[in-house]
Structures are given as structure tokens and as C-alpha cells.
Amino acid sequence: MKRWTGRPITRFEDNMLLRGAGRFTADLPSPKYMRFVRSPIAAGKIESCVAPEGVVMITAADLEGVGAIAPMIRKFGYVPIEQTVLARDVVRYTGEPVAAVIADSEEEAEDFADSVMLDFRPGDAVVTAAESLLARAPFIHPGMDSNVVVRTAMTTPGHQAAMAGAAHLVRAKIRSRRQSALPMETRAGHAAFDVETGRTTLTCTAQMPHLVRTAIAGLLGMDEADLRVIAPDVGGGFGQKMSLAAEYVVLVWAARKLRTTIAWVEDRRENLMASFHSRDIEIAVTGAFDADGRFLALSGDVTANVGAYAPYPNTAAVEPLMSFTELPGPYDVKEYSCAARGVITNTCVSAPYRGVARPAITLAMERLMDKAAVVIGLEPAEIRRRNLVQKFPHTTPAGLVYDDASYTETMAAALRAADVPGFRARQRDALAAGRYLGLGISTFCERTGYGSAAFAARGMDIQPGWENVDMRMDASGKVTARIGASPHGQGLRTTLAQIIADTLGITPAEVTVIHGDTDDTPYGWGTFASRSLVISGGASLIAARKIRAKLIDDAAEMLEAAAADIELGDGFARVAGTDRAVAIAAIAGAKNGFADEGFYDPLGTFSNATHIAIVEVDVGTCKVKVEKFVVAEDAGRLINPMIVDGQIHGGVAQGIANALLEEIVYDETGNILTISLADFLAPTAHEIPPIEVLHRETISAATITGAKGIGEGGTIGAPAAVLNAINDALRPLGVEIDEMPATPARIFAALQAAR
């Protein structure tokens, strides 16, 4: 009997995309185009905004009655700062939308936008978290007595004693510099008002179409039923398209007001300047170790520069709180103390980007482990071995429960594949010849596939997490699954079809997965947080099992056998051990098809991996070349190994970019300097080495498909592996680098400092 899960079948998505027949938002024709006039300064008051005669312009004054974006969490003293969809009176970051113009073409819209006269009274901008925390700093939002939007702290009862009793106290302070997800497709929206029905259809590059609908309808005070949101083919999201774009709200408002169709296509400069940033985070950790290098206690301090406003739905708390909750990572840390804060500045809004805060917390912990290894006199792998969680379930000091996993086993596999002794010999020879090679390890576990309980625990007003799947088998035996998740490259149309096909005994080609259109799919939460296969997959499995049960019962009746003896496979329902069978299509035909639904809201599961990077640091140019990269990962059952590998490759590439290349830079006045791809450096094929991927499949009861989430692991572990490798390479020179990206300029400065 042919089974489909676990096989690297090629994707159903590919044929159209390869032919250039993909349907991306900007591909839709439109009679009108919108362009935003954006603030050229980081902080100040708008004195006037005047368009020339004949230019249709919208400002905040026109948007009376439109709500402000103000996502809320009811915990940790979170202050619900508000963002009006167009700046009203005050601007708070360079690039903030101040007005919108409408024209007949994109070219004309840009001319019109440039012709708008904006007058400001500039104010003092605070750009860094440090500046923003000073007592004399201007408060960026009204009604606040500081620029701290959220803060929290915890200390376990035995923490102080454990720190005091430690044989070794080791400190690490890391700096993660501001990132941008840089999807190849910029954001875009196309809002079409239907004069007959009064409904508006918004086609847009969203990862969460249902939530976009709910949010926009709420802000515009309109019935959700009057808004249809379609996420068509989406050219990468990585989280940047998960947060609500204020621009979409203005677009829908304008289409309705003018009773027409208007499109907005973000350009790359806007995308770098005003689409969501992330990971501008500083973390200091202190590890208390006993004489054998075992963790006694961990202290952490986290400051996240979250930008000027709060992203919807995650709020400005997401990065500092995730850091606070997940800092200990895969290590068995019994005593934990941590203080975390999110700080508002006059910079672009920070929102989740693949991995969210985890690349930064992994960097902190992995640098700590390597420093501790040196202080205590252990190999980096050994100190990890002594501290990785080995017994499951494991409850962390912050209350997370780690399910069955393989932290030490995957590390062992990665080490074997990297041939550490062979590398050390090569490293010695290279050093003798004046070359600096390094090997770096990072181990981590990753929270994936978590449902509404986790979001509720965060205190978010919006509690995403669950997924529904509506499944129908028609009278010819073909299956349609309507899902609430909304893919942007993950291959869900293929992987879900594999799960459903196996359950129903048919082939994946007979399964059509429908997603992205709020008119055609049940409410769902989209694709983010390494969840879609776990949760939509789980819901698909539940729905398919219900239909399977009906097929089996009907087959049993038709074949005069016991239901327990019926097997489904290869398109037939068969009495086990006999050749009595009936085609599944025939059963469906007899019963005029089946319909059922699946609902899945899991607590969540943790995948894990070890990454190993081998680098060479050229001290003449201060450039780092990553020679080889190894990933040993465990994300449970692999539904489609080819797609899993693809996710890991892409994540690792973004992680290497985070470690070496990508950085959003502001000057001290809040002017953004990185507004082109010549300044913001994404990796090309030359910068990404061959990536070797090894798999383990620990099947955990926490996820009914057996699959854990795989989307973000690459970005989480790779930066720390690369940074540790650089430090390993430069240890003979007495250099330590704890900042990413570790640019040539920073490596040079560190070399100078060490001299």
C-alpha cells in the first residue's frame, strides 16, 4: 500500500510558478494607484501638508472615525500605544505614512507624492534604547511617564543562593542589530469596491488574511461580512507580512470612499524604511556553574528597542517577553532570574521576523556556554552535554513544558558529521600558516505549533492559535480541504495533501487544498510561528479521520465485513487479507460524498537542532567565509523531507545573513541610512555554503501528526553557530565578538582592541 507522508514528492504549487503564471498581488491590474507620502524626519510635529491643485490626497483629517492600531496585552504593565493609520499631528519615525495620494499609474502617483509640500517642526529624536531610557529623554507617546512599553521580571526562590554558591560565574553580553525580513516581494494591496454589493475585496500580501479582515473591518467600523480578504501567491513573508500594514487600512478606506479599485505596491526603499524591522536587542546573561560545569543558575537582562509603535496583533511586547520566557533554551537551568523591557524609540516598528527574539537569545546562551567552556576548561560540546535537558517532559523556570526531544542526540549527530577532530587538526595547521579557521556550535530548542493557550498566557487580546479545516470528499472521491492557514512558500498544498491522502487511502493529486480567501475558507490564523503544518496539518488529520471512519463503516457494510478489518489504500477499501475491495470513489459516489471538519488547538511542541558552522576569518580583509554548515535537527515526523530541507536551507541562509551581513542602520538623528540593497546586504549564492542536514524524528504526543514545526529553526541556530566559529577562529588573537552582524568593520575594531 503506497504511503505518501515521508516522501519527497514534488510540489503541486510549482507548475504555475515556474511558468510565470503565479498570481501575486501586484500582478492585478488596477485603474488607480495609491502612494504614501512619508515623514522625512524621525520626530516632530506636522505643521502643514498641502497637495497641488488636482492631486487627490488623503490625510489623517479625512479619516475621522477610523480607529487607531492599538493591539493589547493585559499583562506585564503593557501600555497600549496607538498608531493612527496616517500620522495625525505628530510623526514618530522616518518613513511613517503621513498622507496618501491617488493617481492613474504608479509613475504618476510617485510624481504626485513628491509634489506634496510637507512642513514640519522637527523634534528631538531618540534612536537607541539607551537614549530612550535616559530620564531626560522626550516621551514618545502621550500619557506615559517613560518610553518603556512593557517590563517584566522574575526570580526563582533559590536563585540568589545558587549564584552565591557558584564555583564559576561567567558573563556574556550580546548585541543583536536591527534586521529586516526582506521578502523578495514587497508588500502590496489591491482593494476593489463592488458598487453592486457594497463589498470590498482586498487582495494583499498577508500571512493572516482572516485576521487582516477582522482588524480592518474593526478599524473602519464596517461589517466583517462586507470585506473579503484574499492572500494570493505571496512572495515570502517571514513574519513581515504577518503584522497588519497601516497602509492596507487606508487603501480599503479609500476604495470604499471613492467606490472604485485602488492598488498600492510598496517599493523596496519603502520596504526597507517602513516595513517592519526586528531584533534590535541587547541581552546580558550571567551563568552560575559548579566546578563540573553544571548550570546552577542563570541571570538575564533583556532590552529590546521596539520602535515607535506596536505591531498588530503581536504588540510591542513580543520580543522582550519571548526573550524573558524562553532564554534558558535547551539547558537544564533550575534557578532563573530575568528582567526584560521593551523600549520605544523614534524608529520603525519592530515585529516578528522568522525566529523573532530566538536568534538573539540563542546567541546569548551559546556565547555564554562557549565562554564558560574556556573558563572551566571543558570542550564546548562537553559543557553542553552536561547541561542539555535529557528527561522529558521538562518544565522550565518560566513554565514552558518541553515535550519529547533529542537535544543531546542531535548534537552528537552534528558533531560526527562535522568531524571535529579532523577539523581541529586542520585548524592547527592553518594557524601555523597564519590562517584563522574556526568551528562553532549552537544548540537550541524551538517553540512551535502552539495554540491559543500560549497566546492567552501572553495576555493578548487577540488569541490566535487554533485552526479549522473544512473537508469535503465529492461524489467522485476527490477531496477539497479548506484551511485557515495561509502559506507563502511552505508547500502546504502538497504536504497537507500527503497527510490527507494517507488517511483516506487516495493519492495527493486527488486532494485540493484551498487557502487564502476569507470567503472560501474557515476562520484561521495564518502562517507564522512554525505552526501551519502542525496545526492545519493536525486539523486536516482530524477532519480526514472523521471521513475515514465514514468510509470504513460504509465499506464494511458494502463488503459485509467488520469495520476493524477494513484497510484503506491505493484508492480502495479492502477487507484485510482478502481481495474483496470496493473503490473509495464508488463509496463516495454511493453516498454522494462526505463532509466534515477538523479543529485543532494544541498546547505546542518543541523541535530542536544543533548547528555547526566552520568558518575562515581573513584578518587582512576582516571578512568571514562560511566554509561548511551542518544542521542536525529533530522536528518529529517529516511529512515531505524535501520541503523540510528547503525550510532549513532558507532559514540557515537568513541566519548566516544575520550573523555577517544584514543590518538596518539609523544615524543619530533617526535618519535611516540603509534604504537600498546596496546598503542592506542580503547574501547571494556565494555567501551561503553547502548545508548538510541530518534528521531525527522523535515522535511526541504533543502533535497528532507527529510533525513539529520546522519553519524558523534555521534562523534561530545559525547566527550563534557562526559567531561561535568566529570567536573560535580568533581566540589565538585574544579577540571576542558578541555582536551581530559581525561585519568586517566590527572584526577590525575587535582586532585593534585586542592588540
Binding site: P8, T10, R11, E13, D14, N15, L17, L18, R19, G20, A21, G22, F24, A26, D27, P29, E106, E107, A181, L182, P183, M184, E185, T186, D233, V234, G235, G236, F238, D267, R268, H488, G489, Q490, G491, M642, I643, D645, G646, I648, H649, G650, G651, V652, A653, Q654, S676, L677, A678, A682, T684, A685, H686, I688, P690, I691, G714
Partner: protein, 152 residues
């Protein structure tokens, strides 16, 4: 003005400032060519003009009058082009946005120089950006396609 695209004549009327990429998308209705940066770095807009891969965002449509233009829509015949087949086989695409640019970049390079070795192919492929694949499978796909294209 006539634009000769994939062997068809498209009658278009465009301002001089309309780029070739935008004219293909909006005036010829061929939206397979994508716009990723508009300043010549990402290569998503790569098309083939008179046998050479070029950045469609850096050429004005008026400049392409009289040239033979090929876009991704012109690659497949009754079946997918060998390059497309290998991308599918090797999972060389995820979101698909950068894919047309890579396909044409690779096809043009191999049509001009079928003997390119893997190191030279890497140089070629470093011209374009992809955010999803980490390049691993793009390299495998193009390598495989190169072998097949050489065999004819």
C-alpha cells in the same frame, strides 16, 4: 511601438520612463517578470534581450524596440523547459517570486556557454537574490539542467 516578446508582437504605447519590466507586466500583460527592487540588485526582473540576460528594471521599454525579448512565459513549449523541470524536481523554488529571474539568468548563461562548470555556474547564480531556498536547491537544479542541456 512594437515589443517583440517570446516571438509575438505586442503593440504598446508607453512613456519613455516606463521600464521594460513594467511594460512587460502592465502593457503586455506578462506578469511572470517580477519587480523586486527597481535598482538593479535583486535580479527578479531578469529577462533575455537579444540572447543576453539583463535587468528589466534598468532598461526603458523604448530601448527594447526592435530587440528580441524572452520572458519566463516563453520558456515552456508543450512541456516545461528543461530548466523548469529541474527546478521542480529539485525543489528549487518555494514562494516562486525570484524564480522567473533565476530561470532566465541560468538559461541565458547556458545558451551562451553550455560548458560552464559548477564554479562558473555559482558565479552566474550569485547575480540574483533568493530569500526562501538558501540557494542549495537552485544550484542543484541548474547543475542538473546544464548537464541535460549539454546533452541536447
Amino acid at each position: 511601438m512594437i515589443l517583440d516578446v517570446n516571438g509575438h508582437a505586442y503593440e504598446v504605447e508607453v512613456e519613455p520612463r516606463r521600464t521594460l519590466a513594467d511594460a512587460l507586466r502592465k502593457d503586455c500583460g506578462l506578469t511572470g517578470t517580477h519587480v523586486g527592487c527597481e535598482h538593479g540588485v535583486c535580479g527578479a526582473c531578469t529577462v533575455i534581450v537579444d540572447g543576453e540576460a539583463i535587468r528589466g528594471c534598468l532598461m526603458f521599454a523604448v530601448q527594447a524596440e526592435g530587440a528580441k525579448i524572452r520572458t519566463v512565459e516563453g520558456l515552456a513549449g508543450e512541456t516545461l523547459h528543461v530548466m523548469q523541470q529541474e527546478f521542480e524536481r529539485h525543489h528549487g523554488l518555494q514562494c516562486g517570486f525570484c524564480t522567473p529571474g533565476f530561470l532566465l539568468l541560468a538559461v541565458a548563461a547556458l545558451e551562451q556557454a553550455p560548458e560552464l562548470n559548477d564554479a562558473q555556474l555559482l558565479d552566474v547564480l550569485a547575480a540574483n537574490l533568493c530569500r526562501c531556498t538558501g540557494y542549495q536547491n537552485i544550484i542543484k537544479a541548474v547543475s542538473a539542467a546544464a548537464r541535460r542541456m549539454k546533452e541536447g
